[in-house]
Structures are given as C-alpha cells and as structure tokens.
C-alpha cells in the first residue's frame, strides 16, 4: 500500500468532502433539513405524525415510519427518468430501516410519519446524505428520538480505503476496481443501523473500513449537532 495515496480531487484518504447542514428549509413541513457532502445535496422534509392513508396500512399498535427517496431528474448530468425506480425503492426501504431503531412513535398508533428525501444534486454517497438530512428533519419535527443517526460511505479504490467516495472514485476501474460501503451509526452507542456492500473486500480490510467509518462519523455528527443547535439563536427568557 502506498504511503501517500493521491485521490482524484486531492483529498487525504480520511478526509470528508466539505459538509454543510441546515435545518428548517421547508416552511410547510413539520420538520425539514438539508445535508451536503461536497456536490451531493439532499433535502428531507418530515410530515406528521398524521393519519395513515391508505387505511389498510395503519398499525393500531404503533406509529409507522415511511420514507421516500427520490433523485430529481436534473440531479445528475445525464437526465434520469423521474419517478420511482428499483434503486429508489431500495434506498427508501434501507433509509427506513436505518432510522426506525432511533425513533419512538409507539405512542401514536394508527399514524404515519412521512419522510421525503429529495436528491437535488448527486455526486455519489446520496443515500448517506439522505439519511443525515432525514435524521435532522425528524429531530426538527419534534419526533421523540433516542439518538441521531449519522451516515458515511467508505470506499475501496483498488487496494486503498478512502472515506466519503465521490462519483469519479465510485467509477474507479484500475486494479480491483471500486468497492462502496455505506455505513450509518447512532452517535453514542455506535450501533450500526445501515451497512451495505457493493464490490469485493477482504475481512481484514473490512475491519479497517469500520474503524475508518467510526472516526469519520464523529465529524458528521458534529455537523448535524451544530445545525440543530444553531437553528435557534438568542434563546431568551420567558417574559
């Protein structure tokens, strides 16, 4: 393994692209947020808890979380066909699974919490940006939560592990090619709530990747935390 691996955009191997998070960007929603990894921008809007429609999907014992992930047709340089696809249904589902363990909506039976994730601009790691934005939007909507979820992707380019892959790296073709592993962790217990793997990786390298993700996730969490805390300035006393 080379000592100094050169990434295409000049980043260090454990460097995340510039991150930005903002809360309360959709006034009509009960909660909303934006999360950005470099050129990947995701916005999330949360509505609810509200009555579940269609009625047959209602669960009388608990509230239901429903996520919708969508890439806007102009989010990539070659227009993608709008509407649901195999890929977007899959990401909607895994986002739901990533967020479900931290939210506590058992007290709202028969209701649904709708999370709409839109990818405004895509440059790889969109599901990670989407999950980060959705976690912020859920918190902003005042949904009872145990913790926040932060997400990051770890890539393997040939034999080198890197944090937060972009589109160019995702299409890496030299050597062993590219492997992409999106992770999502809770902030405190460091419980894993999402792990997918696309490509090939050895057990040893995988352990290394988890370690890298653990470190990177802390930085993501700080950005999320700051966004929520800074959304309200000047907290005054009751008068």
């Amino acid at each position: 393994m080379a000592k100094e691996f050169k990434r295409l955009d000049g980043r260090k191997v454990n460097e995340i692209r510039e991150m930005e998070a903002k809360v309360g960007i959709v006034p009509n929603a009960d909660g909303s947020a934006m999360f950005r990894f470099g050129d990947t921008i995701a916005i999330a809007a949360v509505y609810g808890p509200k009555e579940m429609h269609p009625q047959h999907s209602q669960d009388p014992s608990t509230g239901v979380l429903r996520c919708t992930y969508n890439m806007l047709s102009f989010s990539v340089s070659e227009r993608i066909r709008p509407g649901p696809s195999r890929r977007s249904s899959e990401i909607s589902k895994i986002t739901e699974w990533a967020l479900k363990p931290i939210i506590d909506i058992e007290q709202f039976p028969g209701t649904v919490v709708d999370v709409h994730i839109q990818i405004v601009q895509a440059d790889a790691s969109t599901r990670c940006a989407g999950i980060n934005a959705a976690a912020l939007a859920l918190a902003h909507a005042g949904i009872p939560m145990r913790d926040l979820v932060s997400s990051i992707s770890i890539g393997k380019l040939d034999k080198q592990l890197v944090v937060d892959v972009n589109k160019l790296e995702e299409d890496w073709e030299e050597g062993e090619g590219a492997t992409d592993i999106p992770f999502a962790f809770t902030s405190q217990g460091n419980e894993v709530s999402l792990m997918q793997l696309d490509g090939k990786i050895s057990m040893k390298e995988y352990k290394e990747a988890v370690k890298l993700a653990h470190e990177a996730i802390k930085k993501v969490y700080e950005v999320q935390k700051k966004a929520l805390k800074d959304s309200i300035k000047d907290i005054g006393g009751e008068d």
Binding site: G236, G237, E238
Partner: protein
C-alpha cells in the same frame, strides 16, 4: 448545568445528556438512562425544582386536555360533529357537549360542514380526542378573521397569564381567541384593526425566541400607530 445555574435553558438534541446525577427527575421529553437524564426530543431544556424537561420548539400539534382550540367541522355523524383541529387524529364533538339540546335531525342546522368553531379539549387519549363547547367563549365562529401560526409559538403569543394577547387586544381593539393548535381568531370593528393585530402577531412569532417581547411589542405599537397617523394626515 449546575444546581446554582443562572442559565438553565439550552437547546438539546436527541440523545444528548442534559444533566447527570441522582438528584434530578426526568420530566416531559426526557428519559433516564443510568445516571444521566437524556433528551428524548429536540427542544429547549429547562430545569426547575430539580425537574428537567424539554420544551418543544417545532413539530406537529398534540392535543391535551383543557386546550382551547379552533377547528373546522369536517363531517357530521348521527350524534355529533367530526372536527379537524390539525392534529394527527380528528376530534369529536358530541351533541351532548353542545350548550343546548340538539335534536338529531337538526345537527346539520346547528353546525354544518366547513364551519369554524372554538372548542375545548375534554380529553385526548391515544386515538380519540373529545371536545366540548359548553363554556363561555366557545362555539361557532360567524365572522372575523382566522390566521394560522406554528402551534409551538402559541405560548409566546399568549404571554405569561395572557399578558401579550391582552396588549394586542387593548392596542387594536380586536377580540382575539388564540387556539393552542395554532389557529387564531381575530374580530375587530374594522378590517384595519384586524390587519394591525395580524401584523403584531407576525412580529411576535418572528421574534419568538428573544427575550423582553412584551416591551418590544409595546414599542412596536407606538411606532406603528405614529405611522398610521402620518399616513392619514397625508391623505387629508
């Protein structure tokens, strides 16, 4: 946060430790995890008499018993009205909670679909919310203006024991009912009065997290009234 704190309010995020130690009690929006009291939602953490709670700053409206709300008649059943009060489940107003006896064939004449009403929440259990209009100031709204604000900002519009809303009432001459669900009913002698009250409420919710709001609103009214006088002078 310490026991002799002056600054006992801070913004917390889910999972954040608010205080640690055995001498605190977990209140609304918090959870006890081992020795720590942890925020279970995003909001403003407040501690008083060792009780720690998190006040909501955003999110949907959850009805509670005793809340005065403004709602819209959404449907009519054989023994009452279904009212939309902006919460997850619709509320129910029974004919027996109407101040006078209502025959089953005149339910629709008393209040029909689309009517706006002021009601009080009798009880809010998991899926059923019961309302009553058997009190002074409650019932059907026939005129005036309704504006909608974020339900989390209602306490600031009302002020401590109604101080804020009383200032607006005095300054504008409007009759105001603030529903806990974020709907506000205004009725003045003229449309100008109602619009001034609306503007004042907008002023308050734009500054909902700042301190000294009561003084600010009084100042704002002085300025606003001067402006109106000036405009009137110009016209003549």
């Amino acid at each position: 946060m310490t026991t002799e704190n002056n600054e006992s309010r801070k913004i917390v995020i889910p999972g954040e430790i608010i205080v640690s130690g055995e001498d605190y009690l977990p209140g609304e929006g918090t959870e006890k995890k081992g020795k720590n009291i942890v925020a279970a939602r995003y909001g403003l953490a407040e501690e008083s008499n060792r009780l720690v709670k998190v006040i909501a700053l955003s999110g949907a409206y959850f009805p509670r018993g005793g809340n005065v709300v403004i709602g819209k008649v959404e449907n009519i059943t054989f023994n009452g009205w279904i009212i939309n009060i902006g919460s997850a489940a619709n509320a129910f107003l029974s004919v027996s909670e109407y101040p006078r006896y209502v025959r089953s064939d005149e339910i629709e004449e008393v209040m029909s679909i689309g009517d706006m009403i002021v009601a009080k929440v009798l009880g809010a259990r998991r899926k059923s919310i019961d309302l009553t209009v058997k009190s002074r100031g409650l019932g059907k709204l026939t005129d005036g203006m309704i504006i909608e604000i974020n339900s989390n900002k209602v306490p600031r519009v009302i002020g401590k024991s109604g101080s804020m809303v009383n200032i607006i009432k005095e300054e504008t001459g409007c009759n105001i009912t603030v529903g806990q669900n974020g709907l506000i009913w205004l009725k003045g002698n003229s449309i100008e009065e109602e619009l001034l009250a609306k503007k004042a409420i907008q002023f308050i919710i734009d500054r909902a997290t700042t301190s000294g709001l009561t003084e600010k609103i009084q100042e704002w009214f002085k300025k606003e009234k001067k402006q109106i006088k000036k405009e009137k002078g110009d016209e003549e």
